[in-house]
């Protein structure tokens, strides 16, 4: 018979040691996050004003103060919206095919493989591809749409992967319950499977959007630069917030550096706002709320 033992000093020490390691790594992981936010907010607030949000850089000279990022905000929103319109339907339908129809077939394995390959494409390569294909080969102009195409190449695999994972989480019991009621497969998918995984899919899509909203390299090669407002994403060069930050930060004057920080702050705020919206949608649709 074994007697009840006291916790030995050695175990107590190991426990403390591992515990402090865990806390330490958490602190180290948080430091860059807080530092980035702190820097951006501190430096960005100087120029984060109404003029910044409502004016473009048109007729702002190299040393002038003032000016704003309205053209860049507009461009980013339009480009990201277009990229979402292209990649969310395609990505979602691909995920539905993979999970609901193609299980185990050669085609679905091939699709899975290429989606994985696409996930690894460096963002500059997607920009180069659109530059070579859309602008040089087809002779179409630099435009917000070209940028959106490059972004959607980056976005699609993320949407497919996250939606696929969420669809797989839906228990098969629910599909069978629906079939047993005499509900056809397509309606089981649209009325049972998708609503059940809705919150997760929205979160995944938002992460994909957040990822592409900050991409600089593909835009550099496809939407080009402009200092003026161009609200038409199908014609002519546009601006994007990442481009704006890149452009302003490269200039030698303090006023330009301040604008770059304010642009970075705006970009972070837009992404945060999107995440907030996703949370709200998730909360609104969550079954636990009881409605």
């Amino acid at each position: 018979m074994t007697a009840i033992q006291r916790i030995s000093a050695g175990r107590r020490f190991k426990d403390r040691f591992v515990q402090s390691l865990v806390y330490l790594s958490f602190a180290i992981a948080v430091v860059p996050l807080v530092a980035v936010l702190w820097m951006v907010i501190k430096n960005g607030l100087a120029r984060f004003d109404m003029e910044f949000l409502t004016h473009s850089m048109r007729n702002i000279g190299a040393k002038d103060a003032g000016g704003g990022a309205y053209h860049a905000i507009l461009g980013t929103l339009e480009q990201v919206l277009l990229a979402s319109l292209i990649s969310i339907p395609i990505g979602l339908l691909t995920a539905i095919y993979l999970v609901e129809y193609g299980e185990g077939t050669r085609l679905s394995r091939a699709i899975s493989f290429f989606v994985d390959v696409m996930t690894g494409i460096p963002s500059v390569v997607s920009g180069l591809f659109i530059l070579a294909f859309w602008i040089l080969a087809l002779g179409l102009p630099f435009s917000g749409l070209a940028g959106a195409l490059a972004l959607s190449i980056l976005m699609m695999p993320t949407v497919v992967r996250s939606a696929e994972e969420m669809l797989r989480l839906v228990p098969n019991d629910l599909r069978e319950a629906s079939y047993a009621l005499g509900v056809p497969k397509w309606r089981t998918i649209t009325r049972i499977v998708l609503p059940t995984s809705f919150t997760g899919i929205v979160t995944g899509v938002m992460l994909a959007i957040a990822r592409v909203a900050g991409e600089t390299a593909p835009l550099l090669l496809t939407v080009f630069f402009t200092d003026s407002i161009n609200s038409d994403p199908f014609n002519g060069p546009q601006m994007g917030l990442p481009l704006y930050v890149f452009d302003q930060a490269a200039r030698p004057t303090d006023t330009a550096i301040d604008r770059a920080w304010a642009g970075a702050l705006t970009l972070i705020l837009i992404v945060m706002l999107l995440n907030l919206v996703a949370r709200l949608i998730g909360w609104w649709r969550s079954p636990a709320r009881g409605r």
Binding site: D173, L174, E176, Y179, L181, G182, R187, P195, G290, R291
Partner: protein, 258 residues
Amino acid sequence: MSQQIQVSGLDAYYGKHKAIEDISMTIEPQSITAFIGPSGCGKSTFLRTLNRMHEVIPGARVEGKVMLDGEDLYAADVEPVSVRRMIGMVFQRPNPFPTMSIYENVAAGLRLNGRHPKSTVDGIVEESLKGANLWNEVKDRLNRPGAGLSGGQQQRLCIARAIAVKPEVLLMDEPCSALDPISTLAIEDLMAELKSRFTIIIVTHNMQQAARVSDRTAFFNLAGQGQPGRVIEMDDTSRIFTNPAQQATEDYITGRFG
């Protein structure tokens, strides 16, 4: 309302593996038939062939005939979806739709299959919940999520959902195996009531349950590992449990194996 089922020479496969072989039986309307037998002997597989749910699994197929009131469910031009509307199913684990309220769960079969005026749906929901002995417990919280109910209530909710589409036959795949004795009793009482309106077939591992609720019992077994399951004996329940014709049946019900 309920109809006779006649099965003849039915085999079911999962890919190359033959899960059940040469099953023939007649199931009378307005009765409860129980399938008993050791695990893996094909009871659930056979049950799922009766409403064409077997073929939902990739690679699964069926050979043979299942006649519902003279019509072959496996005829080439039969729409499987319509078969499932006529032959409802309750599963082993309660599986209410998590995004739906109690009301929506019961109405799911109607709403997903077409438009109905709200008053009709209201009536059917109330009638089905009453039919499943759940109305009194949930009538004040029909808009609460179905997943918030207890296990036994969830299973009765699933029964209400199944009977709301007014099937002819109700298949129950071990409906009580995840429930406590009180909930089990509630479901058994319910089955006795539903018998007057539906043909009920239940798969169970609980022999007392088979003896309590069913009119006829079929004993399934397989010759060995990897062999297909077969019906060893089918007879009136009282006879199966008191004086079975086959030695294997007697061994099983007296607990000598399985």
